[in-house]
């Protein structure tokens, strides 16, 4: 499901709070979509937890959730991608 150049990252940086300590990591709590699902722009597609605060992650664009890169309970850092969307 990977390999195309036009995929858009579901980027952790888009939701990362500014006041989080520099070396803090987040944990993926829930995915609300599986690979292959058509998602709307702005739809909450997953939830991460940083410093005990839960944060909803919206789809950056409408399209197909092509790949989930970080599954539930995985850790991630600010620069990581949670997954990839193939835009409509």
């Amino acid at each position: 499901m990977s390999g195309t150049d036009d995929r858009v990252a579901v980027a952790a940086a888009d939701v990362w709070p500014d006041d989080v300590e520099e070396d803090e990591t987040a944990v993926v709590v829930n995915w609300f979509a599986r690979e292959g699902r058509q998602v709307d722009e702005g739809e909450t597609i997953c939830e991460v937890q940083i410093e005990k605060v839960s944060i909803d992650v919206p789809a950056p664009v409408a399209g197909e959730l092509a790949e989930i890169e970080r599954v539930e309970e995985d850790e991630l850092a600010r620069e990581d991608a949670l997954g990839w969307i193939e835009p409509d």
């Binding site: 944990v27 609300f32 599986r34 699902r37 058509q38 839960s54």
Partner: protein, 342 residues
């Protein structure tokens, strides 16, 4: 199977808490008389995410934080309901019912009867139940039997996001008082991960699941397992494990305790002849005994063997190994299923 997987791949999935909130939000948009009050339900979003996000849309007039004053605010909900509103009052932990039982038992449950039917009490009392996270004896009980024993209330216990949404729609629309008991471990919150299972595809549109309709979560021909809440998932896990040994267990999720779908249980036992009842409430005078009594009354001839799996009659311990010991696990259910087949 491929089609089922494909279907699952494209549908939206929700945690149980989000499914509940979606139903509440819908009903609040449809009916101005619906409001929610409880401890930490507004700014905090509910300590088990039971009201997450509702404050932003509906404001403090309809999503109300209250002081630690269970008698007062549950009593206020009863009064509001009798005047035609549709309150949802959250008792943070079911264990806290002690301080407000007069409002629950004597007012909420009985006022329709006491008034000769002149008032109805269309309110929902939500409460978090269950253990498995080491919070000791005053925060970890399920108390299904305590609430189901009191006449006058309907009692709901969802086990999946799909059921949680449909049952919540029905609870808010019901003209009678409903106790809606959600298991903390199923809510899908970050600090208390749910087992596989409660997060399910959930349709965007509203739908009501009628009370008194148990759901056969797994079909099987050898043993009937009747359960509810968290233990639906443990029973399903046990059934999958036993399937490798050629034992085919049917798992019935009660979904509501009042009204109780005795028919579905009897039909299943008529096929299997063997019954295991699993519950996270105390063993004595509770759900397990009630289910077995009903089957004995109405289907005794079908019954070849029976076993119950429940919490022994001790308050839930704080220490993790001790709590793990008393709350039934998947292996305990497997053992019981094997036992009724031997």
């Amino acid at each position: 199977m491929a089609q089922k997987e494909r279907q699952q791949a494209v549908e939206r999935e929700l945690t149980m808490s989000r499914a509940m909130v979606e139903a509440i939000a819908h009903e609040m948009r449809e009916n101005d008389e619906v409001f929610y009050m409880g401890e930490d339900v507004a700014d905090y979003g509910g300590i088990f995410d039971s009201t997450e996000g509702l404050l932003d849309e509906f404001g403090h007039d309809r999503i109300m934080d209250v002081p630690i004053s269970e008698t007062a605010y549950i009593g206020a909900a009863v009064g509001a309901a009798q005047r035609g509103m549709r309150p949802i009052a959250e008792l943070m932990f079911a264990d806290f019912f002690g301080v407000c039982m007069d409002q629950i038992y004597n007012q909420m449950a009985k006022n329709t009867y006491m008034s000769g039917g002149n008032v109805s009490v269309p309110m929902v009392l939500t409460a978090a139940v269950g253990g498995t996270y080491n919070d000791a004896a005053q925060h970890s009980q399920t108390l299904y039997g305590t609430f189901a024993h009191l006449p006058g209330m309907k009692v709901v216990v969802p086990s999946t996001a799909y059921d949680a949404k449909g049952l919540m729609h029905n609870a808010i629309r019901d003209d009678d008082p409903v106790v809606y008991m959600f298991h903390k471990r199923l809510m899908g919150i970050g600090w208390m991960p749910a087992p596989d299972g409660p997060k399910t595809p959930v349709p965007d549109e509203p739908y009501a699941i009628p009370f008194g309709s148990a759901d056969v979560k797994r079909e099987g021909s050898d043993v009937t397992v009747v359960t509810l809440g968290l233990h639906v998932h443990r029973a399903l896990e046990a059934a999958e494990s036993l399937a490798d040994d050629g034992i085919d267990a049917e798992v019935i999720d009660l979904r509501t305790l009042v009204p109780l779908d005795t028919e579905t249980i009897l039909e299943s036992v008529a096929e299997t002849g063997r019954l295991v009842v699993v519950d996270e409430d105390y063993r004595s005078h509770g759900v397990t005994g009630e289910i077995i009594a009903r089957v004995a009354e109405e289907g005794l001839a079908d019954l070849e063997a029976v076993e119950r799996v429940a919490v022994p009659d001790v308050p839930l311990p704080y220490a993790r190994p001790m709590e793990d010991e008393v709350i039934p696990g998947t292996e305990d259910i497997e053992t019981a299923i094997r036992s009724v087949r031997s």
